[in-house]
Structure formats: structure tokens, C-alpha cells
């Protein structure tokens, strides 16, 4: 049986970096108020290199490190990073204990898969493994940024660890130091009875933990049933880039949560909270095909946000997805299918913005005799194959050249002789008529005054070889199209 403890050192600072792309570089420290004097609570590695240390007063830290950026704790950001950590943990093991803020303990996890969880840039996740949860927790103290994962097989591997990681009281630590004991190895070599007799039961419990004699049961947490993520922002956002960064983080988190529950998202509910309690912007995105890929989820929202203009800056982001069971399907050899429905959905959105939503689709027949009555319907994402070999196939039924229509029909001046068109003059083509077919009379919807139509059609050939369809409606002549 193996246990792993995953810990995010400098949790408060990492949480700020997780939700704010600008926080990733430079010396930075979290401050806490202690009495009247603000002190440094945590500082990042750059700040430590430049001389700042936790517990130092702010004025002293700034004197040592003038470019130190002081930030306050963000509970909302910490909750997000904690949620992400739990989701990643569930990706690796079903037995996960939420040990503390930024710390989880896993039982028998699969090897860590950084590419599968797309570890966010700048996130420092330390992992310690051992035969008991306590030894695994101590092993994380041996890890570093360069070597984020350390495994120990027994207490002897922790001999070099400082006593401070044992969780002893300051008083006990002081006594041990006065005895000349500074590391776990020397403490472990003491007799348990002597430790219990001289230092008390808490020190004996620490000795048991170090010796690996006691393996505490984990308090297993269950994955969330609701698939939502939200973040209240410290500073309102006015541009798209930071908003996309946050949405990317939230979608990454939701994707991991969905994966742990073996679900996919079918609908995305987005809510952008406006500053100063103004009405929020809400939008529902129905996905063309359920998915949990964070890139696709983000792209779906991005396409709309690209052209969105809000009156007020965004002070909070909330996402919720409707989960559906995962259904894997294989492409059919005998069915025309869109290979990437998500991509097509984005293309369709761009085309709708370019030409209008009613101008792209598959033409379908409208049950009317009115000329050029076409309805558009969305392209079906899968279409059964057609048999084009038979005699009765649609290819065999069409006659003549297809018409190339003018929408709207072009005005034309038509000379008539013996009741037939004799000469055509229009902006498209003009000339003497050499051959005529027609007339064909059509009318309909006489029962509705506003929709009533009546016209006469003629097919004519001009001397230059053009085949035209002329239409006379009342006394007006027009050019309906050219046969091409």
C-alpha cells in the first residue's frame, strides 16, 4: 500500500498566481496584520533570494528588496486552486483526503501525469510518497522545485530531515536541541519509552509517526456532484485577455471534475458579474457535441466573447456545465459525418456574423408554387449515404441547364412582337431574341391580399447564345436568371 501527499507550498501566493497571469514573475509576498505592524506571511523564491523572509516586518523587507510586491490573501483564488488540486487528485486516485489548504493525501495513486492534467504554468506541486500518510507528508519536505517528487521506503530515508517537520511543540524542539538532536534520524534512534517518559505522549506520537508504526485512516472525500466553478476578482477586468485566462483555468478545473465523474458537458452556462452590482451578463452555450476538452469549451465561449462589448467591467466569473454520460462513437464508413462538429460550430458562428444566420445552411423545399421559395435548415451533422446508381436517382430526373438567379430579379425592357418577347435590354445582357419557349403562367396565394402573386415566365435565347428566364408581372418585365 502506498500513500502520496501532494502539497502546494506558499499556497496563498500560488493561488494568486493561478488566477492572475501577471503574478507569476518578480518577488512577491503575502502580508498579515500582527498587532499594529504588518508582517510578511509567505514570500516566493525570488523574494527569498533577494533577502525577504517570512515573519519579517514589511518595512524591513522593502528595505532589503525594494521591488517586493505585497499582496493580500484571496480566499476566492485559494478555493479555486484547492478545487483544481482535488480534481487533479481524483484524476489519479479514487481515495483522496483533503488534508488541508493546498494539501491532499492519496492512497495508491497512479503515477503522476502532468500532461494529462495540463499542469498550469508556474504551479509548483510537490509530491511525497511513503508507506504511511505521515511518512508521505514528511517526504514532501525533502522535495524541491527541481525534484518535485520524492518517495521514501521507510523512516531511515528521512534521517536528514530537520526536526521542525515532525510537528513537535516549540518547547519539545528546544529540549531536543539542547540535547544536541537536530534531525529526525537522531530523534528516531531514541527509545520510544524514554521519549514518552521524558517528553510526554505528544512526542511519543510523533516518534510513532516517524517510525512508521502507525498508519492513520484517511477521511476520504467524494467528488462534487455539481459541476460549477466561479471566481470573484480582486480587480475588475476590462479586456478580453485576462478574462480568457481565468476562463481557461475554470474550464481546466471543470474538465478534470467531469473526467473524475466520467461525464461530459453538453451545455455551458456563463455568468459575468458586472462591477458595482450592475446586472450580470449571462449566456447559455449548447455544444454541438458533448465534450469535456477544456480547449474546445474555451473556444466555444471565446468565439462569442470576441465580439462582446459590456458596459461595465467584469468583477466575477461563474461557469456551470450540464453533465451528460460519456458516449463514445465511431465514425461510420457509410454515413457522411462532420469530422469535427465543434470546429464547424465555430465556423458557423463566424459565417453567421459575416453573412447573417439565415444565409448559411442546407436548402430545403417549401411547399408552395411561388418561384424561388427556399428555406434554409442547419446542416445535419450526419447524413446517411445515398444510392446514386439506380435509374430513379435524382440525377436522372433533372433536365436542362441549372438556372443562375438574380436576387432580386433585374429590371428589363422587353420588346414584344406577336405576343412574344422580341428584344431584351437589361444591365446584364441585351440583344435580339432568336428563340422563345413559353409562356408559363403561375399564380398563387390569391386568398391573401398582401401575398398574392401572379406572373408569366418565358425562356428566351439571345443572339449571343445566352439563355434567359424572363418574367412578366403585370406590365413589368424582369430578368429572373440566366441558364448556365
Amino acid at each position: 500500500m502506498a500513500y502520496f501527499v501532494w502539497r502546494l507550498p506558499d499556497f496563498g501566493l500560488q493561488a494568486l498566481c493561478y488566477t492572475n497571469p501577471r503574478s507569476e514573475t518578480g518577488p512577491m509576498a503575502l502580508t498579515v496584520e500582527q498587532g499594529r505592524q504588518p508582517l510578511l506571511d509567505t514570500c516566493n523564491e525570488t523574494a527569498r533570494i533577494e533577502g525577504a523572509e517570512p515573519g519579517m516586518s514589511v518595512s524591513r523587507a522593502l528595505a532589503r528588496c525594494p521591488r517586493l510586491r505585497l499582496v493580500s490573501r484571496s480566499p476566492s483564488a485559494e478555493e479555486r486552486l484547492d478545487t483544481w488540486l482535488r480534481a487533479v487528485a481524483w484524476r489519479h486516485s479514487p481515495y483522496v483526503e483533503v488534508t488541508g489548504p493546498g494539501t491532499v493525501t492519496l492512497k495508491d495513486p497512479v503515477p503522476f501525469m502532468p500532461e494529462a492534467v495540463s499542469l498550469p504554468r508556474g504551479i509548483d506541486l510537490r509530491r511525497g510518497g511513503g508507506p504511511t500518510p505521515d511518512l508521505a507528508a514528511m517526504a514532501t519536505a525533502l522535495s524541491s522545485r527541481r525534484e518535485p517528487e520524492v518517495r521514501v521506503s521507510g523512516p531511515e530515508d528521512l534521517d536528514s530531515l530537520a526536526l521542525g517537520h515532525l510537528g513537535l511543540s516549540r518547547e519539545t524542539e528546544g529540549i531536543l536541541e539542547s540535547w544536541g538532536l537536530r534531525d529526525c534520524g537522531s530523534f528516531r534512534r531514541l527509545s520510544r519509552e524514554q521519549v514518552a517518559g521524558r517528553l510526554g505522549l505528544p512526542a511519543a506520537a510523533a516518534w510513532d509517526r516517524l517510525a512508521g508504526h502507525y498508519s492513520r485512516p484517511l477521511r476520504i472525500a467524494s467528488p462534487p456532484k455539481r459541476f460549477e466553478a466561479s471566481l470573484e476578482l480582486e480587480y475588475a477586468i476590462e479586456t478580453l485577455e485576462p478574462l480568457l485566462f481565468i476562463l481557461g483555468r475554470l474550464f481546466g478545473e471543470l474538465s478534470l471534475t467531469l473526467e473524475a465523474a466520467v461525464k461530459v458537458a453538453s451545455v455551458i452556462h456563463l455568468r459575468l458579474q458586472a462591477e458595482n452590482d450592475q446586472p450580470p451578463y449571462t449566456r447559455v452555450f449548447r455544444l454541438p457535441e458533448p465534450t469535456r476538452k477544456p480547449g474546445i469549451l474555451l473556444r466555444t465561449v471565446h468565439t462569442v466573447l470576441d465580439n462582446l462589448r459590456l458596459e461595465h467591467p467584469v468583477a466575477g466569473v461563474a461557469l456551470r456545465v450540464d453533465p451528460v454520460p460519456e458516449h463514445r462513437r465511431q465514425q461510420d464508413l457509410f454515413t457522411a459525418e462532420l469530422r469535427d462538429p465543434h470546429r464547424f460550430s465555430e465556423t458557423l458562428a463566424c459565417l453567421a456574423a459575416l453573412v447573417g444566420p439565415q444565409s448559411a445552411g442546407t436548402p430545403v423545399f417549401r411547399d408552395t408554387h411561388r418561384p424561388d421559395a427556399v428555406a434554409m435548415q442547419p446542416l445535419s451533422s450526419s447524413r446517411a449515404s445515398v444510392d446514386t446508381s439506380g435509374e430513379g436517382s435524382p440525377e436522372c430526373e433533372c433536365r436542362g441547364f441549372p438556372l443562375d438567379r438574380f436576387r432580386p430579379p433585374r429590371r428589363a425592357s422587353v420588346g414584344v412582337q406577336a405576343g412574344q418577347p422580341d428584344f431584351v435590354e437589361s444591365p446584364v445582357c441585351s440583344g435580339r431574341v432568336v428563340a422563345v419557349r413559353g409562356p408559363w403562367y403561375g399564380s398563387g396565394e390569391w386568398w391573401e391580399r398582401t401575398r398574392y402573386w401572379s406572373e408569366v415566365e418565358w425562356d428566351v435565347q439571345l443572339e449571343n447564345g445566352s439563355l434567359l428566364r424572363l418574367v412578366r408581372s403585370g406590365r413589368k418585365w424582369s430578368l429572373a436568371g440566366v441558364y448556365r
Partner: protein
Amino acid sequence: MTTHHPAEESERAAAFDALRERMKAEFPSSCLREEKRFKLGVPGIDGGCGGIPAGALTEVVVPPASAGSGLVLGALIGLARRENAYLALVDGGDGFDPETMGFERLEHLFWVRCSRLEQAVEAADLLLRDSNFRFHVVDLSHHDSGRLRRVPGRVWYRFQRLARQEGAVVVCFSPVGVIPSARLRLSCLPGEGLEQLDWPREQLAAGLRVEIIRDHRGPAQGRGAAEGGEDGLFRLAAS
């Protein structure tokens, strides 16, 4: 000019053959394959140039007189149906008439109705980047040739690159030959007259007279490239 002895020539050819085989074995992925051409079922095109190339641009010049360029569009729609694939039609002048094309044949058609040239070019660009369509038709025949000539050449080269990347069949209809990157350019010759409007479409297609203006046969890459074709690069080196 240098002349070679026949024995030397055959020795050189053998050396090139050996080199070609070795290069093929060493770098199989670098081998360029011969392009695939789709038969349209129009004898004038299938017989004249072997069909419409995949992974390349084809330009169909539409003359002012009625000549049957609509039949080429109809044949492309039929081809897409037979291939069980979707066809994207960017209708630059909103002139496509589904009624005379036959509604029953248009299940696989995605029709984008544009009113301006810029719209049509942008829509074609978007659809060519979408990997869902194997067949693309861009009808710009309604637009003025002067305006079409002002479309920058880089647009057509980008279309060519996208077509090649996706292995797609891309056919542009234009009033004059304006596409510098078209691998195949053809034009339909005027038909016989008004009586043809009663002829079955198969008969019209069979009698369609086509002039092949340009046919740059070349190797193509991408999804539509034919499998097992001969290696054009090495054949060129040997000659």
C-alpha cells in the same frame, strides 16, 4: 552542349534508379505522390484532364453565353454525394437556384449566400480552414472581372495552400481567368440552343464541350493524395 555515349547514358540512368530507390527507402515520408483526380462524370473534363484535382485549386471560367458551367456545379454536387462527403458552396452573388438543381440532391450541400465579393472571399477562407468539408465551390461568376483582378494574389495562394493542406477539391467559378494559383483552368464552350433546356441532364453533361486552358499536373500532399502513386520528385531528378 555535351553528348554522352549510350552506354554512359544507361549507366547514369541505372545510377539514378539506384539513388531513387535508396532515397525512397531512407525518407519514405518525403516522397511526393501523384495527385488524385476525381472523375466528374462529364466526359469533356474526365477525358480532357482526368478529372478535378484534389488538394489543388480548379478555376472554371464562366462565359457570358450559356454553356453549361451549371452542369459542372451539378456534377460536383453529385460527386460529393457519391463520395458521401459534404460540399460547401460559397455563392458569391447569391445566384444558386436549388429548384432547378433539384432539392433532392442537395442533402450534402452547405450553401453560404453572399452578396459582396469580400464576404465571399472571407467565407471561403473560413470554410477552407474548417476540416469538415472535402469539396468546396466558390462561385464568383457574378462579380465584375475588374474587381476580381484586384483581389490580392496572396489570397489565391492561401486558398491553394489550404486546399493542399486539407486535400480538398476546391473549384472557383469566375468570369475570366484570374486565379494565378489554379492548377487546372477550364472553360465551357457555348451550347446549341434553347431546345437543350428539355434534354436530360446526363445527355447535356455528355455533350458538354470543355476547353482546358491550363493543366499543371503536379504532386499533391494531404488527405486526398492518392496512395501508392509514383514519386514525382525522384522521377524529375532522373530525367
